[in-house]
């Protein structure tokens, strides 16, 4: 009787991504909230720094801090849908590998961060950035993509750690912020010269640092991921 089927990791990841995309498109609550928080933080920074336009170091910071805050929202909500409808139990009743659930969450969060930046970066160029945005767009996109992957990977791990915690909304931000500091240092160092009025060339060592951190986190996540999902 019952044909015992097995399912590969990538197929399980795709199944979860598809389901999460459906859920997010139907409720459409996370992305707008992240966008509004990021935009609000930019406005706060405009007054906190008392600058009408920013460049260089200040520009990099004024882009990265709103992004970090918005990503905190996304990370806190990463398993919200699963908790509401016992999604982890649903998943664990299937033969799909346990680690694939976390991998799917990381990729989904990366996609959410990219979608957020599609709105946020033009807004930043329009509202705050002194120098022209378009000429430095390729460098900006590269650095932000690497940052998204890093934040999403560490966000996936942290959200996984906090699944069973009572005060999740307290634990997640205080775990994410210190872990994100090296990534933010690297992104800031990479972007600051690019966002100067003269737009210096991108120093490749900083994107490399981001990539290395992302790879290390991904390796750690692949080792510990399955333990986070089970019981």
């Amino acid at each position: 009787m019952s044909a015992q089927t097995t399912i590969s990791g990538p197929r399980a990841v795709l199944a979860v991504l598809r389901k999460d995309l459906r859920l997010e498109l139907r409720s459409f609550e996370l992305l707008p909230a992240m966008g509004l928080l990021a935009l609000g933080t930019m406005i706060v920074l405009r007054f906190a720094l008392d600058q009408e336009t920013v460049e260089g170091d200040l520009a990099a910071g004024s882009l990265l801090v709103p992004l970090l805050f918005a990503s905190l929202l996304g990370i806190s909500r990463l398993f919200a849908g699963e908790e509401r409808d016992a999604g982890i139990q649903q998943y664990l009743l299937s033969p799909a590998p346990a680690g694939a659930l976390l991998a799917a969450k990381v990729l989904g969060l990366t996609a959410v961060l990219v979608a957020l930046e599609i709105v946020l970066v033009p807004a930043f160029g329009l509202l705050l950035l002194g120098p022209e945005l378009l000429p430095v767009l390729p460098e900006l996109v590269l650095v932000l993509l690497l940052l998204d992957l890093t934040l999403a990977t560490l966000g996936g791990i942290v959200a996984g750690i906090a699944i069973g915690a009572r005060s999740r909304e307290l634990i997640v931000p205080i775990l994410v912020v210190p872990l994100a500091i090296p990534a933010l240092i690297a992104a800031q160092q990479a972007l600051a010269p690019v966002l100067e009025p003269g737009a210096e060339a991108l120093a490749w060592r900083w994107p490399a640092v981001l990539a290395i951190y992302a790879v290390v986190l991904a390796l750690v996540g692949s080792v510990v991921g399955e333990y986070l999902v089970e019981d």
């Binding site: 560490l154 791990i157 205080i174 210190p178 500091i181 640092v209 750690v220 986070l228 019981d231």
Partner: protein, 240 residues
């Protein structure tokens, strides 16, 4: 874990720390720039190095727990992180004292060693709240072990990145004594202090592991004698 070996280890750590301090004050030469104030270097840097290694060992024990190492591995992970966090506070305090006496400021952002420690300290501050917020003992041990592994990997990366950023922002002019070009008496004293702090650390870890596991065994016996609940009460401490 037994008491055996603890007494000689304790005596050894006392002797080594005494020798290390004596060498720092009597044998090592006075620093030409900073004079007597520089002596805190023999405490500050070894403590820092031992704390870093302790955090990484905590991560290794966390991985052992995840790989089926049992609650003993979780307990060791907990104790290493606990002891290293105490050392991290000591690093921040000795660093601030050194900074105040040497440069007249309690805190300077161009000291990558100290800045890294601040970030690491901030991260490990969440370890206890994380444990406390998870009721189920097994789930708690699992989450804490994952934290220990991630944070253990984070520590060296954080140091490298902070140092890199500092090196490109402020090209270092003040040569730190730890830069490798140490005169022999300084190096010998430094290494002695490093060994002394390491042995002291190992002793304290063994004391805490022994104390905690004894307490648990005692509680388990009490529960059995009293016919009480089989599962220990909520706690942030690993249930061995």
């Amino acid at each position: 874990m037994t008491v055996r070996g603890l007494r000689p280890l304790s005596i050894l750590s006392v002797v080594l720390v005494a020798v290390g301090f004596a060498m720092a004050f009597l044998y090592a030469p006075l620093d030409t720039d900073q004079g007597f104030r520089q002596k805190i270097f023999y405490l500050h840097v070894p403590i820092g190095i031992v704390a870093l290694i302790g955090f990484v060992i905590g991560g290794i024990h966390g991985l052992r727990y995840l790989r089926g190492g049992g609650s003993e591995a979780d307990l060791r992970s907990y104790v290493h992180i606990h002891q290293s966090q105490i050392l991290a506070v000591s690093v921040l305090i000795t660093g601030a004292i050194w900074g105040k006496t040497a440069w007249g400021a309690w805190w300077r952002w161009d000291e990558p060693f100290l800045v890294s420690f601040l970030i690491v300290f901030l991260l490990y501050c969440t370890y206890q709240p994380l444990r406390l917020s998870i009721d189920d003992p097994r789930r708690q041990a699992r989450a804490a072990s994952v934290f220990a592994v991630v944070a253990g990997a984070f520590v060296p990366i954080n140091f490298a990145v902070v140092r890199m950023a500092d090196a490109y922002l402020h090209p270092r002019t003040l040569s730190n004594a730890a830069d490798g070009s140490m005169p022999t008496p300084v190096l010998v004293t430094f290494l002695t202090c490093l060994v002394a702090i390491s042995v002291l650390y190992a002793t304290l870890v063994r004391y805490e592991v022994l104390s905690k596991s004894t307490t648990f065994r005692l509680r388990a016996l009490e529960r059995r004698a009293g016919g009480d609940d089989l599962i220990p009460r909520r706690s942030a401490v690993p249930q061995a």
